[in-house]
């Protein structure tokens, strides 16, 4: 029996669905493999829906909307035009053949065009064969063990820690003594000698704050909860110590109205890099060019101009693998994942009250800790962070299983940069994914 691909087609009511009807009325043949899903607008087709279609066994997904400029809702198809190519690059990076997803534009009168696209797409997918996307537990023993991202060893630069420690303590004492803030979130050294987040509520407690080569945590992740209004009293203002990467998180959260600018006093610290457990410069610092925070109320350390490190693009070697090897690489990583959600909890941008992938009703992903479910979670989370991830790499550092999860985020960040010339967190501007094509942020 020859292979008949299952194609899911999202068709918008106003144009492409009617276009499909037009084709039918004019007796123009379209393949029976196409299963239509009628949506009000192509902008409604959220990437989670497309990922869900592949998770549930679709061999190909087609999204057809109105031509740009002809959308019934003005700018709905702008969203599709921006979001779906971003998802496409993510899926391709994960090992899905790029030809299995297609976004195109069909108007209500273009019956022939609809039939042509539908036939073309079906034939392309037929040629690719059944999709290798879902894996059963028996496929656990995946062969390729040697596929690992290559790490460079950079030695740590010399850092003036004592001076910065004094500066942070002085600032914290000043803010707490004057009661300008109720709490200063900084770093301290714990009883075991490990550097970790610290919360100082009085000038005395400010004496435990430090700056050293191990200040890795992104303290901005504590802000949304600390600044959320829970009772009659507005929450007290908070000060937070940030590195240049962390400061970008402040901008992203401000752009998303997670808190107001006057609720936080940002103590920016110039940074020469942070150490990993082996004692060398962390890989995110190797790629980082900024030395001075992007937003701050006080600056500790002299402003330093941006520099460049020579560094290998970690994702490049992965891009060049054939699709099946890409899938195998990622399945190895997801197989090791225990779905503890440490990556999500460590991320300042992940602050949904109930994560889409942790819902009780399992509508986006099942509860099981299996390879398919874990992949759905990671791809979905990476997509949700596109245009928002600031590259602090805390997700990867938090992972108990050492999964190089930030490869996904890096890939999307470079896609967004390529397509929209945008990098998250440099200023208080929302991600280009949520704006219309002209760049303005439109409500609705």
């Amino acid at each position: 029996m020859s292979f008949e691909p299952k194609i899911i087609a999202f068709l918008c009511s106003w144009c492409s669905y009617t276009g499909a009807d037009t084709a039918g009325i004019a007796r123009i043949k379209s393949p029976a493999n196409i299963r239509d899903i009628r949506v009000p607008c192509s902008g409604r087709v959220s990437p989670e829906l497309i990922m869900r279609a592949f998770d549930q066994g679709a061999d190909g997904v087609l999204v057809l909307g109105c031509h740009i400029g002809e959308c019934h809702y003005d700018t709905g198809n702008h969203r599709a035009a921006k979001r779906i190519p971003v998802l496409h690059s993510l899926m391709q990076f994960s090992g899905l053949e790029p030809e299995r997803m297609r976004l195109d534009w069909v108007s209500a009168s273009e019956g022939e065009r609809f039939a042509r696209i539908a036939t073309e797409f079906t034939e392309t997918v037929r040629g690719l064969g059944p999709v290798a996307w879902r894996f059963s537990p028996e496929d656990r023993q995946i062969k390729a063990q040697s596929l690992q991202p290559i790490d460079n060893d950079f030695s740590m630069p010399v850092v003036d820690c004592a001076g910065k420690t004094d500066g942070i303590r002085a600032k914290a004492k000043e803010l707490l003594a004057s009661r300008e803030v109720g709490c200063v979130i900084g770093y301290e050294v714990g009883p075991r000698g490990r550097t970790r987040p610290s919360f100082a509520y009085s000038p005395d407690e400010a004496d435990k704050l430090v700056w050293n080569p191990d200040v890795s945590n992104n303290l901005v992740s504590y802000l949304p909860v600390k600044l959320k209004r829970t009772g009659k009293e507005p929450p007290k203002k908070v000060a937070v110590v940030v590195k240049p990467c962390d400061s970008k998180a402040v901008n992203v959260l401000l752009a998303e109205n997670q808190f107001a600018r006057d609720q936080v006093h940002v103590i920016g610290v110039t940074c020469d890099g942070v150490r990993d457990e082996k004692g060398s410069l962390q890989s995110r610092c190797q790629a980082c060019t900024e030395r001075t925070p992007f937003v701050y109320d006080s600056l500790i350390g002299e402003p330093v101009p941006a520099v460049t490190h020579g560094t290998q693009d970690k994702a490049a070697w992965l891009e060049n693998l054939p699709p099946l090897e890409k899938i195998e690489f990622w399945l190895y990583q997801y197989d090791r994942c225990i779905r503890c959600y440490a990556c999500r909890q460590a991320c300042p941008m992940c602050n949904c009250p109930t994560c889409l992938y942790e819902r009780d009703d399992s509508i986006w992903v099942g509860m099981g800790i299996g390879v398919n479910e874990k992949r759905t979670f990671h791809l979905g989370r990476a997509y949700h962070l596109s245009g928002r991830c600031i590259g602090c790499n805390e997700c990867e550092r938090a992972c108990p299983m050492d999964i190089p999860i930030s490869l996904l985020n890096q890939k999307l960040a470079s896609e967004i940069h390529k397509s929209f010339n945008y990098r998250a967190g440099l200023t208080v501007v929302p991600s280009p994914i949520v704006t219309v094509l002209s760049g303005e942020y439109k409500e609705g």
């Binding site: 075991r192 987040p197 440490a342 460590a346 509860m367 108990p400």
Partner: protein, 341 residues
């Protein structure tokens, strides 16, 4: 899990003899050998197909051995729906398994889970079968790791008591001790040299003073817990790597039209929605409540509910300290509590 100490036997074997034995077990069709294996730079207990896969250098695998008996996801039964008819189908794990390289803290963890899943009614049918079909071959640790504290909770790096077979490194060779019938069954007949060298287990006192069970209740309402948990991210990594954390969730998932499976998976009390009841009320809404619950469960609730006597449900493996991204440290709780009035 019968232990007949009357006939504990010892053998002294070389590295080659050990490798041959393990390779044989790895290739045996009738069983699965699970051993520490390095996968992408991380050592985990994983099935191995030949002896060469076994990692020679490891302190302790990132995940404990509890996943062999209580896997992250377990299918309880499948549901077939046709019209109004429902049919339920069960299948149970039957595969023989041998786990090599088990550290004493992990074996202690299995014993502690036994008191929950086996020694308290009703008996868990999945855990029971996996436990009956599995033999534990332990490997004594050379020394305590930087975050280990098994000696503070009544354990030791070379404690054999929860194993079926125990290996000790002795002068470039391995001393093999069998402790149970199950263990003896695996020893290759005739080739190995018996010995009467006894392992000298020097049980030292631990560096941390773990507060006794009776001390915990009086500190329940201290504001300490809210302060201590401020840096906690509610991420659940600690519970998942812990050898004794056993909370799970049950849900039905769709397999295909008319076919469903009821599964149980690991869960942890760290999540905000873990205890949300119908109507939306959330007991333990504060992070401090949840972190406190985890410590109290480990040192007070679990021991009381499942009859552990004076011992806690903590094996001192130290994994929680290693994986916490925010620097929460259980041994700090001990010092703080012991130091307080």
């Amino acid at each position: 899990m019968s232990k007949s100490n009357s006939e504990t036997k010892y053998w002294l074997i070389s590295q080659d003899e050990l490798d041959t034995w393990l390779d044989g077990l790895a290739h045996a069709q009738a069983l699965t050998l699970v051993a520490p294996r390095e996968i992408s730079g991380v050592v985990v207990y994983s099935p191995v197909e030949n002896g060469g896969h076994i990692s020679k250098v490891f302190t302790r695998p990132v995940l404990s051995v509890k996943g062999v008996f209580f896997p992250p996801t377990e299918r309880l039964f499948t549901i077939h729906k046709t019209g109004q008819e429902i049919r339920l189908d069960e299948s149970f794990p039957e595969r023989e398994t041998v786990v090599f390289g088990v550290r004493p803290c992990d074996a202690r963890g299995v014993k502690l889970l036994d008191s929950l899943f086996l020694d308290t009614n009703p008996v868990d049918s999945f855990y029971l079968r996996r436990r009956e079909n599995t033999t534990l071959i332990g490997m004594a640790c050379d020394e305590l790791g930087p975050t280990c504290f098994c000696t503070s909770v009544g354990g030791a790096p070379d404690n054999p008591q929860d194993m079926d077979i125990m290996l000790y490194k002795v002068k470039g060779k391995y001393l093999v001790e069998t402790l149970t019938e199950k263990g003896r069954f695996l020893i290759p007949g005739g080739e190995w040299i018996e010995t009467n060298i006894n392992p000298k287990t020097a049980l030292s006192a631990g560096q941390f003073q773990v507060p006794k069970k009776g001390k915990w209740p009086e500190h329940f309402n201290d504001t300490y817990w809210m302060k201590f948990s401020e840096r906690c991210l509610s991420c659940r990594a600690c519970a998942y790597v812990c050898p004794t954390c056993r909370c799970f969730a049950i849900r039905d998932e769709r397999l295909s039209r008319g076919e469903f499976e009821r599964i149980r998976c690991w869960d942890a009390c760290a999540g905000e929605n873990y205890r949300r009841v119908a109507g939306g009320h959330k007991p333990r809404a504060e992070k401090g409540d949840r972190l406190r619950n985890r410590f109290y469960c480990k040192f007070y609730y679990y021991p009381m509910e499942y009859g552990l006597g004076a011992s806690s449900a903590c094996t001192g493996c130290g994994r929680c300290i290693d994986v916490c991204p925010a620097g929460v440290d259980i041994t700090e709780v001990f010092s703080d509590m012991e130091g307080s009035v």
